[in-house]
Symmetry: C2
Subunit: 144 residues, 2 copies
């Protein structure tokens, strides 16, 4: 694929992405938890993470992550634990309430998306499914 086509693809991809960004935000606005909050909860679902790791994964600075953690903590969704081997470290994990709030939020968001996906025909669904790994790779390339 030559440069001209590549630039055209870039333009078209950016166009739909811009729209999608807005839509994701509006889907998320339905619930009580913001996009960023759900993203943070998802991150620590598998195992507790330090504040710095949350910041890095979310693409924000450490003080912003601290803020988020404080907020989520005051909502009772996360808890802060000490790291046994390093007293500087704060480990942030889900509470039971956090776990169920996350499950609910994810379910609602996925359901909305699934409903939208139903409007696509089989070929289009196939196209989206096939593109996902490529987009994931693209995301990685953009991240660096």
């Amino acid at each position: 694929m030559d440069d001209i086509e590549l630039h055209d693809l870039a333009r078209r991809y950016r166009d739909i992405l811009r729209q999608a960004v807005y839509l994701v935000r509006s889907i998320d606005a339905d619930g009580e938890l913001s996009t960023g909050q759900v993203a943070t909860l998802n991150m620590i679902a598998a195992q507790p993470l330090r504040v710095g790791a949350i910041a890095r994964n979310a693409g924000i600075r450490v003080p912003s992550a601290t803020e988020q953690v404080i907020k989520l903590g005051s909502l009772g969704l996360v808890e802060r634990k000490a790291d046994e081997s390093d007293a500087r470290v704060v480990l942030v994990g889900l509470t039971d309430a956090g776990r169920s709030a996350l499950a609910e939020a994810n379910a609602r968001r996925n359901a909305t998306m699934a409903t939208a996906l139903k409007t696509l025909d089989a070929d289009e669904l196939q196209a989206v499914a096939k593109a996902i790994p490529a987009i994931a790779k693209l995301n990685e390339a953009l991240a660096s």
Copy 2:
């Protein structure tokens, strides 16, 4: 495609989209114009729009659009004109400076995206290209 698969696709699609949202923001952060500002300028590139139309297209409220227009106006990128047939209406159009700033911003963003696209192989590029119309349709479905 049955419901279970659909929900799985929804989840995976939401995952990469969430990442992409963050990346779009970080790409945009490189320039002097914010994501929203460029989106607004793009909107009025073809023909001047009223403040209300800008708000609707951008998915924001009218007062927020007013703010944006004021900001862009003070940067000399847009100009406000009266509508001849309705004195309540404010038409917002690009100035020459706005047009060239927009071209520059788009070029820079597309170039960044094109560079990232170069890391994909032919099959992956094909997959992205094919998915774009489907995603556009999906966006429409989500918008309603």
